[in-house]
Symmetry: D2
Subunit: 334 residues, 4 copies
């Protein structure tokens, strides 16, 4: 961290700042120039609050040099993290493909989709039981009952299951869930992150719609600093001024996050675009960008396609797409 001091600063206040920093085990590398003085702070600056220092009377500005995250930082952990989930791994040499319906609607539906996506090569099954909904009047998901059906479908298809937790109080219900998903709206639900840091289960953390890469990684740090090192990062689109798509899928996040961190990174083109006809292109693009996997909403209801979410693709479309993604993944990794 670099502290740029105001010109003609009060020496007494500078001394106070020096002492305050020393107490925090920070060494100061002072460099006094004609027009301004600069302090380089050496030590574990990840616990220093740059805003607080910037607000001091004698300080002109503060520039952070080191990333504020440690456990997620690739600098201190060169090797890619690989996470085992039952019979599959996330972050390894193979492409992870998480597929399933937006919402679990019935045993028949979830089991049929599970089998179909398994046949097409999916490696994990997703399905929403608790749905975060903007409107209190919309369907909020099947809840506990949906969770049961998802577990049945997981067993019948042999796929590990992924589903979203809404709140720390739901944790006991997720004991048999293989990967717990934290939704974009909960990316900075710090109490939830803390709790998930104390369990031994992979966490699929979705990027908030307005979160910077740094904030996203800091949320992963919240989980890892609690002791749970099994975190999967998921880019799912950010909010911009564009209204044609629901969100703007930021695929640059993939190579960027993989450079900054050792954690596996996947993309969700279904939420990222909100439009089924754009999903295959963006899933391919995510794989080409270097994603460790993708997460895709799939429905199986050609007769009532209109009752599915506008962003889900049909099982047949998924089948074709998955074959293409696997070929592409080989080409990229060559």
């Amino acid at each position: 961290m670099i502290v740029v001091l105001k010109q003609n600063s009060d020496e007494r206040q500078l001394e106070e700042l020096r002492n305050w920093l020393k107490k925090k085990n920070i060494m100061i590398q002072e460099s006094t120039g004609e027009s301004c003085s600069i302090w380089g702070l050496v030590g574990d600056t990840s616990e220093l609050d740059g805003d607080v220092i910037a607000s001091m009377d004698v300080v002109e500005s503060v520039k952070r040099i080191q990333e504020p995250y440690k456990k997620v930082n690739r600098k201190f952990h060169q090797q890619d993290t690989v996470i085992s989930v039952k019979n599959t791994v996330i972050g390894g040499d193979d492409l992870t493909v998480i597929a399933g319906p937006c919402s679990i609607e019935s045993e028949e539906q979830i089991v049929a989709i599970a089998k179909a996506v398994k046949n097409s090569g999916a490696t994990l099954l997703r399905g929403g039981a608790f749905k975060p909904r903007t409107s209190p009047y919309s369907f909020q998901g099947m809840g506990t009952e949906g969770l049961k059906l998802l577990k049945i479908a997981g067993k019948e298809s042999g796929l590990p299951i992924v589903t979203e937790i809404m709140d720390v109080t739901q944790l006991p219900l997720f004991e048999d869930v293989d990967v717990i998903q934290v939704g974009a709206r909960n990316m900075q639900n710090f109490n939830l992150l803390k709790e998930l840091g104390s369990i031994h289960k992979p966490i699929l953390l979705k990027r908030g719609m307005q979160a910077t890469y740094e904030e996203f990684l800091m949320s992963a740090e919240h989980i890892m600093s609690g002791g749970n090192e099994q975190v999967i990062l998921c880019e799912r689109g950010i909010r911009t001024f564009e209204t044609y798509t629901r969100n703007t899928l930021d695929l640059t996040a993939i190579p960027a996050l993989k450079k900054l961190s050792h954690l596996p990174v996947i993309a969700d083109p279904s939420h990222g675009t909100g439009k089924a006809d754009l999903v295959p292109s963006m899933a391919m693009a995510a794989v080409a960008a270097g994603a460790d996997g993708v997460m895709i909403e799939v429905h199986n209801d050609p007769e009532h396609a209109w009752s599915d979410g506008s962003q889900s693709i049909r099982t047949e479309t998924f089948d074709t797409l998955n074959r293409k993604m696997i070929a592409l993944h080989s080409l990229v990794r060559e």
Copy 2:
């Protein structure tokens, strides 16, 4: 809600859609033109999911005409909502001024600030006990102990108290808190909103950093639909590309939200700018824009100003500002 149909749509699918809508007690006003056919949906469309309809094979697009919120909607509740909190009201003829420190640090600090802001004319006392922090390594607030000190300061100054809840599990701790604040990051923590809808206490709901006016109002609707009609809306800055300020305070939200809803609307220029020297101008601007109140961070520590958040103003600055705001409020309401 208006449904624009695709040309040459399958009549069987149209019939299916007609039946589906009828089951939901929606009447259809069909209008068939040469180039396209339009259905006007009449009835309680707030429970219809526009995205689902838009995804149907026969549908070209869906245009919502009515707002999806009911309880917060000024159309169905012309009069301004006025909320009584002990010896003061929010949303009435007088300006509400909520002031206090960013974090509660000690009894001495919080009591001194409480008395100072009370003397300057503040009507409620704020202070953070549980702090949502981006970094797991930053100070997370004094917690339960802080809450106790805040209550003491409230009693000693005679000011009602406002403080932030982080999680539904903390609710029992907030029994003696006069106004419960929901932070920007929790604006779409729907389980928390639902719980707060079942209690009888005013809720100060902060706008999420990426929330549209409609989403903000829908979060208020989550609370009100549970039965708690005492909701105060707070604009606190949105995220844009600008980096000079921490957020971009969107003051247009004030007249816009007051037009769309009957709920009181206040502004938080401290978080909205992140810079103490911009706070007085933006507090004045908020009052001029028609805000029912403002929420301002104040510190009392001239000797150690540097240990305060960069966005807190001194008690003396607050004193001058408050007198100006009251004069301005009269001028605006003339």
Copy 3:
């Protein structure tokens, strides 16, 4: 266009609006319901200003159904536009690869890069002669002299050349330029677009940093409505809150624009990310998303790499990348 009328509107004002619309050759499909009345406007509504109608006393809101663009619209021109430029085509079956330095610096530099990228398979040569610079104190490009050198390099390598025009007064200088580029900052320089609509030369139109897809297409419409139908759309990143990258490359624009329009769409990952190490991944992602081509900054100066723009890749990196892109392009088009 759908006009939703206010309840109990003044009949005289409605009549006035009816007459105003009739004069513009718009037919009205009236549909009067219990709670609201809706008019469907039939005819060429692309010349109607929705905002003006929305501001009328009797109007509640206006919803546009048809796209406001005609010439660029795929609905009225199903087939992909293919643009011939000397010995190559843009928008056809082959991948277009435009490569070259950020700025032209010397004959030696531009000729060497031209030959190198030609050898690696580039199909057009880019190079900046006039540089739009945020600061008046930065290098503004070699200007007319640079243009001459670019033409020499084009001849020596056999590659058609692409370079940016800054202003309508420069047009005479661009006679021997094969493709004229309009930069992001000029996307809504309507006088320039109008002038470019009257010439017979391909225009590479870059998306403005804050332009929606619709606005981008409307700028292409400005050129096409003047008679010049050779327009290439280029996604080059939008501005968001993220600061790690210079811009956020919006790759969803590729399938979206190709669906809405028949024009070729290419991507510029160099400007889109601003970071050389992210360029290869994002170039691959663009091709996977269905781009007709990519535009990439390449430098040839290993000894003084530091004097090149931070977003240019080395000729060797480009060579490897191009081979991979061509393989990927085949896989995607299968």
Copy 4:
């Protein structure tokens, strides 16, 4: 400017960088620590391109300390700039109020509005002759004929006139215009800015919809570095995700720009909101935030209100508003 070097950098490359900087008259303040080395660059760093340095092999990152603008910087010009325009001043003790129609439509219209706003206390007359329009099919303004009518209205009312230039080729037509406006879409039309830097006439520069404060000030620097020091900054709304308003008026820009620069700052709540009913509140808020003036669209057509732009207010509304703004301006300046 601070340059953070990579660890274990090649000494030959460092020496090369040292020499390159020396040639640019930059002195280096080297500070070598255990974990990293930092160079403080002293001298006129406004001509250094931080991105170029950041791209060098030996450089980890670059942090700018000084603003890249000089002429517009308050640090080097403490006193407020006051600009005289005929019988009025902009930036002085009085509030500047620029009012008039969106587009000039006829002599009758522009003269009537000019007289009305003059009577209500406006200090300058605005009116669009050349209109930048997203669609090539919309009304593009009356052009040269409109300019003539505006001059007539200026003379008849005694108000100085302000109108927008679209292109450098139009400059000869603007000889009798008192203040030349540069629209948001032209904020980075650098050739136009350069040309305006060489004339002796006040320039009203509007902020681009996606421009940061720094970029906005750099565009003013383009004009001032050419010798024209009469620049007025105008905040007119930025683009965000909100769709209820056309733009998001960023009023924090007012105190921020006044702190960073000595130039007068005004606000345009008409374009900033796009909704007539929000204009009065936001005009008041702009004055409360410390604006030197406001720019407001006014129409005079009660019978055909619907044919006016949705963001223009009536002359009577303007009359009431102006009286309130003047009272508020006194209160703020007390």
